[in-house]
Every structure is written in structure tokens, then in C-alpha cells.
Symmetry: C3
Subunit: 227 residues, 3 copies
């Protein structure tokens, strides 16, 4: 689920004790909504935000929520990692780069993350996965749907209505059955996904510290500067 959170009058903050600096967390009708709340930064994720997301998910896992929605405030879901979190980038470059977050991974000398090196080929075949992961193919929403990355695409005007109609129906499903079914569907791959993630992270750390990555980032800035 992407784009801004719905304007729902009856929303109430979740867990009186839990206060969040970077998130808006509300619960209603068995649905917990975690809303990234740095709209002026297009919801770029900081280390603090990562920690708060983990905390909010743990709370939602313990209360009566049937569904948890992750979304962003403002007109942008999320622009990726806030690059101010990363060291080893020359000071002058960070501001420029932050403006262009979402920039393509391999163009910056990066490598796949989030288990995409495993899940993308599984989902769409090696040819189309390579097109995205190695050659930076950008997809339209319709193409993302065709490749199995999202389930449905709506026009902006009806997005909130269509999504929340579905979410409210899902929120009424038997909670334990849903949780156990999800465990069945996901459990088979859990060990594999952790191993894949470890490998990807290890590779990313190497990449960030490499001269090639640094040069790619520098020449990216220079190209931008010329525009």
C-alpha cells in the first residue's frame, strides 16, 4: 500500500504509551496504520525511523490488529534511505544526492537488496529480473502489476476508496486463521530469505566502500551539476 494515509475522522493513536517521533501510528477497525511522517523530506527513512518502524510493527503484532498498513504522509510514499545516514560520502554531495533519492542502484555502483536478488527472478523469471536489478529498468504501475510486484493499480482519484474498501473487508477476517495462513505461505522461504538478505547486505557494504561506487556517485553528481 502506498501514497498518503486516509483522512479518517475516527482514527485514534495506537498504544497510549507508545510515542513516535517520525511516524503517525493509528488503529481503527482492527487495522493499524503506520504512516511515515517526514513529508518535507518525501519520507526518506532515517535510522531513527527504522527503529520506530520496528517498534510499531512489534506493537501491532501484539495487539488485536488483523491488518497493518504501511504508508506515507503527503503525496509521496517514500523516497528510500535518507543518505545523511551513510558515512563515506563526501560532505558536498549529500544534499544533491538526497534530492534525487530513488536514483537507480546499479548506476551508482550498488547491488540488489531486500531479497530482490532471490524474489524477483522467482516471480518474473531471470530475464525480466535482470532487466530491473542489473539494468535499472523503471516500471510503470501497470508493468509492476504484470510482473507480480503489486496486485492492483488504481487511478489517483479512486485510490484511497478502493484500497480502504479492501482493507476494511480484510480487517474482518478471522485473525488466527489469517496469521497461520500467512505463516504457511511465508514460512517455507523464511530461512532462505534470511540467508539471501545476509549475502545482499554483505555485498552492499563492500560496494559502498569501493572506489568504483565512489566514482559512480561522483560522476552522477557531475552529470547532474551540468544540467
Amino acid at each position: 500500500v502506498a501514497a498518503e494515509a486516509p483522512d479518517q475522522a475516527a482514527e485514534k493513536p495506537a498504544g497510549g504509551a507508545a510515542a513516535f517521533e517520525t511516524l503517525l501510528v493509528t488503529t481503527e477497525d482492527n487495522i493499524t496504520t503506520i504512516c511515515l511522517n517526514r513529508p518535507t523530506k518525501k519520507n526518506a527513512i532515517t535510522v531513527e525511523m527504522y527503529n520506530e518502524i520496528i517498534k510499531a510493527l512489534e506493537l501491532a503484532g501484539k495487539d488485536d490488529s488483523v491488518i497493518t498498513v504501511l504508508t506515507g504522509s503527503g503525496d509521496f510514499y517514500c523516497s528510500g534511505n535518507d543518505l545523511n545516514n551513510f558515512t563515506k560520502i563526501p560532505e558536498g554531495g549529500i544534499e544533491k544526492m538526497a534530492k534525487d533519492s530513488g536514483e537507480l542502484l546499479s548506476q551508482l555502483g550498488q547491488s540488489p537488496e531486500g531479497c530482490s536478488s532471490y524474489t524477483f527472478p522467482k516471480m518474473m523469471g531471470l530475464a525480466k529480473a535482470s532487466e530491473m536489478l542489473l539494468f535499472n529498468k523503471k516500471l510503470t504501475a501497470t508493468e509492476a502489476c504484470e510482473r507480480g510486484l503489486v496486485t492492483e493499480v488504481f487511478p489517483d482519484s479512486s485510490f484511497q476508496t478502493e484500497v480502504w474498501t479492501r482493507l476494511k473487508a480484510y480487517g474482518k477476517l478471522p485473525r488466527n486463521s489469517l496469521a497461520l495462513s500467512k505463516q504457511l505461505v511465508r514460512g517455507v522461504e523464511k530461512e532462505r530469505l534470511h540467508a539471501v538478505n545476509d549475502q545482499e547486505v554483505e555485498r552492499l557494504v563492500e560496494r559502498w566502500l569501493s572506489d568504483e561506487c565512489m566514482n559512480a556517485i561522483m560522476s552522477f553528481f557531475q552529470a547532474k551539476a551540468k544540467l
Copy 2:
């Protein structure tokens, strides 16, 4: 292959010795057709029928058949398990529920079966698989084709002609080559599929015995009764 068996004059019963109570089993042109034969119950599957299907498949595996077709008599392929087979459902509810077999699994507090928790994510990605297995998304025939669950979709008027044209061609393919190729394609996953199936069945048994499942079934009946 779904829908009714073709009206083929030259059909003959398979294996003189094998008599079936709940199936029509015929063999012609190297093709064995196993037809579920309880049209008044929309071919709901009983325990007896399961045993006869196993027997019929074993026979077809031993004779000269190249292809085995599973279909149903009447205008309905199969409405799923005959719920009279299952205990632990209050007596009053069974008749109502049988009328609505095919009712959605997780709505009734159930969990995925038939290895779908493994094969669906593999085939269509986790997002679209979850939509079906957790949130009861019903597909049109065209959508089922797009997600890889079926290979082709025909209008009702030409269905039998189109399908049997293909089947008759398949029935002429070299038998051993086909069997060995099928073993290659399926063998890789056989062990995994058995493990997945064991897990799914274990989970389903828990589900059927849970209060949540019982309550979901009861509220399903009450909703129906109000209509």
C-alpha cells in the same frame, strides 16, 4: 480440464474388471477420461470418490494411456469436498453449507491446501498469491490464465472442441518420452511438495478443531439465513 465430458460415441469403459460407483471411467485413443459422476451434488467429492479416483489413476498409470483427463458430468466440474464427510460440524449446518460449497477458505477460518501455499507464490509472486490465499480474491478465467493457473481459456460454445483437439494430439505423443519428461519437470519438487502438503494438512486439522473456525462457520450460516 474442466466441465462436462464429451459425448463421444466410441467411448468404452476402461478395464472390464474395474467397476466404479461414483465415477465414469472410459478409455479411447490412448486417453483415459475420469469423470466425477454425482451431477445432482455438483460433483462434490466424498471419501468413496477419493478412493475411486486413486484407484482409477493407478489403473490409467498401468495401461497404455498417454493422457488422463479429469472432468465432471453435468454442467459443473466439481464443488469441492462434500462436507458430509467432515465431523465436528453441527448437524443443522451441513445441508446449508453443502449448498454453498466452494465458499471461501479463510472467510471460514481455514488455511491454504493442495500445496498452494508453496506453488502459488512460486508461480505468481507473494503479493498476488496472498491476495488469493489470505484475502479470498476470486479470479475470472482470464485472470487465472494470466497468473499461470490455467493455460488457455475458451468460450463455453467451443470449449469441448478446442480441448479435445489438443488432447487427441497429445495422445499421439511418444508415451515414454512424455512420462520421463514429466518426471523431470515434477521430480525436482516432489519431496518439497510432500513436505508442504504435510504442513498444510496439519494446519487444516488444527483449524477445523478451533473455536475460531467454528465461530466463522456459524456466523457464515447466520449471514446466509438472514438473506
Copy 3:
């Protein structure tokens, strides 16, 4: 990448020392092009050609190439194995068969190869994979794209322009990052793919030596002869 190599004036042969009998190998803009060069035989692959392809790939892996393109000279990418490489086929039949290379595998009593018994079901689901691997379904280019076998389809008139626009952009990507990302994407499956390939090859050898295969080939020739 398929079809003929581009008419590029600035191309130069790769590695002065490496001479190839059956291939044209050129390198330009970090892109090595390996072009199968038996246009009069529709680039049917001989044992010598296999050895030269291996050698050319090893050279491209060691030099500065970022991308390696495999294509064919003339208007045909490749018609498959040159059947003159295979013994156990009666002398009279080889010429006829060579003309029809690309003939369907299971119709000739063969079985899947090139890891397709594993990669096809993974990519498109078991139903559609079986349709191709067991029942010889031929795909249009558009269908191949929908099933994930290719990433894009172009009309013949713009094919070279479209493909080379992409390749030249890919050739400018950071080399190490690309290689490491490719290793990530492919590494997970490498062991599995070798095991699958071993099984497929073993099965193919059995098939080629079987009476069924021989009979299927013979009846294929007879059917052709009657046309």
C-alpha cells in the same frame, strides 16, 4: 539477443591472438559481440562451435567487456544443434532432419534440456511450462515475453536500433557492480542448476538411444516425405 549482428563500421576483432573458425568476435564500447557465423546452415551449432563459444566467453570474461552479446549472422539466430554431430541416426535421415532443425522435442521422443525442466515451471508455473515442455506449444514473440522468456519484443525494422541503444547504455554501467549483482542474482541457484542439467543430460542420452526415439524420428521423416 537474437537476429543478425549490427553493421557497425568501427568494430574490431577481439584479442589479436584469438582466431575463430565458426564465430565472428568483435569488441567495441565495452561490449563483446559473439556472432555465430554459419549463415548457410542457419547457424546450426557444431561441436567445434561449442568449443569456440566457450573460448570466446572466457576471453570476454577476462578483458574489460561489461556486456557480451550472443547473436547470429544472416537472418536467423540459430537453428539449434547441427544433427551431424550426433551418431545413431541413420545416414539417410540426417540431411532431411537438418533442414527441419528446431523440430519439436517431445514429438521426436526427446526430453527437456538447458535447465528448462526447472526454470520454466519456476518462471511461468507448472501448467504453462508443461504446455511447452511436454506438449510442444510454440509461442509467438509476444507470448514469450508474457511468460518471462524475453524482456521486450520489437518489430524487425527497429530491432537493431532498439537493442543497441540499450546495450550501449548497459556498457557504461560500473563493471564490478554489475558482475557482483549478477553473481548475487544467479549464485543462489547455481548448484541447483548444475544438478538439474546433469539430470536432463542423463535423460537425453537415454532418450537418444531408445527405440521409441528412433521410431519417432523415423515416423517424422516419413510424414515429411509424404508432404
